[in-house]
Amino acid sequence: MSRKAKDNLVRGAIYGCAGFTVLILVVIIGFIVIKGLPGISIDFLTRDYEDKTTYISVDAAEQEQTSGQEEGYVSSIKAVIGLNDKGQAVITKLDEDSPLKEAKNTKNEAYPVSKKDIITKAGDLKIEGISSLSDAVSSLNGLSGNVKLKITRPGGGILPMVVTTLYMIGISLLISAPVGIFSAVYLIEYAKPGRLMSTIHFAIQNLAGIPSIIYGLFGSLFFVKVCRLQYSLLAGALTLSIILLPTIITTTEEALKAIPKTYRESSLGLGATKLQTINKVILPNAMPGILVALLLGIGRIVGESAALLLTAGTVAQIPQALFGNSASGATLTIKMYTLMKEENDLTTACAIGIVLLVIIIFINWASKAITKRLLKKGA
């Protein structure tokens, strides 16, 4: 084969490989978006995951004879209802002064009813399988005085997972950001090259290479069992903090290394102590780099699954405590996994996938923007 033909063949292979890499990304994103888009809605983003049924007590309003109200208006509760496919009364509109807004649950706490809640029982009367709207209206209108209503708030949303993810980000960063940043400061500003420094670096490089399932094993043994935190927010966050350390330390180190020596020398020369120099000169200048480190950390937390599966549990709820019985909660990624693995619901899983993709793309964009500005300033 002539040299030219050979060159062209190889050139073709190179173009093909580069094209393949981009194509893969397009296919993955395309698949997630197409599959998940039907599942995305405001309700999906703002609702609880499970249906929630509560008994509430309401003081029914005085009956007034009103004409010209829209169809389905119930004057005793000053709300408009519709029927769903199970023949249950769904609240579609609430008046400003509706007594439902003053409703109290069985513990006598305020439990305001909102749109799209379903009334399934009023007093002893079951509201189910009703075929005509006027029947439902008249039976609800028969109420007077203090009545007990059974209200179902429909779920199907990812709000608990969003909140858990935010908690997880907050707590993990609260632990690992100071430790990681201080650690980088020590390595760059204080440590002299030697045994200690190379040991620390060796440890950090090793941490970076450990797969997250091993962190999960460690966390489930140490934080969950030995420290008795149980499957909880704190156990997950502590495990994540260790996972984040290498990222935060190395990125902060890079930022500190980029600060010119003259900054330090002039500050020290002006009589500032080392600590003052770090506090007033070095850290402010390294801020953009540190910000990138934190952003990368957030990306890692959002994407983490194996370690959290073994430390924070898979329950779709907003954790009520840092540790203990009611403190477990699934992050978005974990929920996406359980949806696929246990409930075989690829559509909802991909809808969560879209949310994750948006977060990841935003983080990528933000950290790039910060780095770019930094480079411009340096030049």
């Binding site: 030219k4 490989c17 890499t21 620390i200 091993i214 699954s305 194996a306 599966l309």
Partner: protein
């Protein structure tokens, strides 16, 4: 005068205290590594010692995992992990290196502006999303063409792992290629070599150690990947894989699948699986450190 002195002393003490705090933080990484090793190894090696010990040989060479019958063999999982990783490396490294060549040597500026962010995004996508992609796209396709009834297979794992290690391979190879001095290329071109010949005979050999590091890092990522693989591997309870169509159960998924409900001996055996995985990772890490140090010496 006295007051000044005492203020200085106070300041010095404060400086020392803060330095101490910084040092403690810096040691957190070391402490974590030691704690992880101690806890995982202690728990994982426990079932092989003392009375009622499980034979280590049976563990390491067994091809059946049946906790209910007290049978714990992980050899077929090791085989699964190693085969999947090897497959991903064999396919992923050439594609990744050629993509890096394209970015560093041949691509017009516009193309770089598309490909580089694409690769960064690929690197940032959570592994569960790769799992969804595998489950929704790769497995159904394999099911169509496979002689077996199911699409979950070694091949599916290899394909998804290949995609997952691509960003690592591409970005590290790219920086290795860019680090090759310009004079190498000029000398080669000046001697009459074509551009392609220059790349393959002069540039890539010079970037060899960087590409090797990228490969080792890719091995680490592939062997440690859990969630994406778990959904597409099939995870059988026994049997060595005998073709790319057969199901596999990598070490990582064995841990993740049973950890949530395991207790007693079964749980310890999952930690033992973790120990095997850890040893693989340590080999990878040490190889990587050796490689990068050698590069530094040069």
């Amino acid at each position: 005068m006295d007051r000044n002195l005492s203020r200085n002393v106070k300041r010095d003490v404060w400086e020392k205290i803060v330095e101490g705090i910084f040092l403690i933080c810096a040691l957190a990484g070391v402490i974590s590594v030691i704690a992880i090793i101690v806890f995982v190894f202690y728990k994982g090696l426990h079932p092989f010692f003392g009375e009622d010990a499980y034979s280590f040989w049976d563990f390491i060479s067994g091809t059946r995992w049946a906790p209910s019958q007290n049978v714990y063999g992980v050899f077929y999982m090791i085989a699964g992990s190693v085969l999947a990783t090897a497959g991903a490396i064999i396919i992923g490294v050439p594609i990744g290196v050629l993509t890096a060549v394209f970015i560093a040597e041949m691509a017009p500026k516009g193309a770089v502006r598309v490909i580089k962010p694409a690769i960064e995004l690929l690197a940032g996508i959570p592994s569960v999303l790769y799992g969804a992609f595998g489950l929704g796209v790769v497995v159904p396709i394999i099911k169509e063409i496979s002689p077996m009834v199911q699409g979950q297979s070694l091949l599916a794992v290899i394909i998804v792992l290949t995609i997952m290690i691509l960003p690592t391979i591409v970005s590290l190879s790219e920086s290795a290629i860019r680090a090759v001095p310009k004079s190498y290329r000029e000398a080669s071109l000046g001697l009459g070599a074509s551009k392609i010949q220059t790349i393959f005979k002069a540039v890539l050999p010079a970037a060899k150690s960087g590409i090797l590091s990228a490969t080792v890092l890719g091995v680490g990522r592939a062997i440690g990947e859990t969630m994406a693989v778990m959904m597409i591997a099939g995870n059988p309870t026994q049997g060595l894989p005998n073709s790319i169509w057969s199901m596999v159960r990598p070490l990582t998924t064995n841990i993740a699948m049973e950890m949530s409900y395991a207790s007693g001996r079964q749980q310890e055996m999952l930690f033992a699986t973790g120990v095997i995985l850890f040893i693989f990772i340590m080999i990878v890490n040490i190889t990587l450190l050796k490689l990068t140090n050698k590069e530094g010496d040069k």
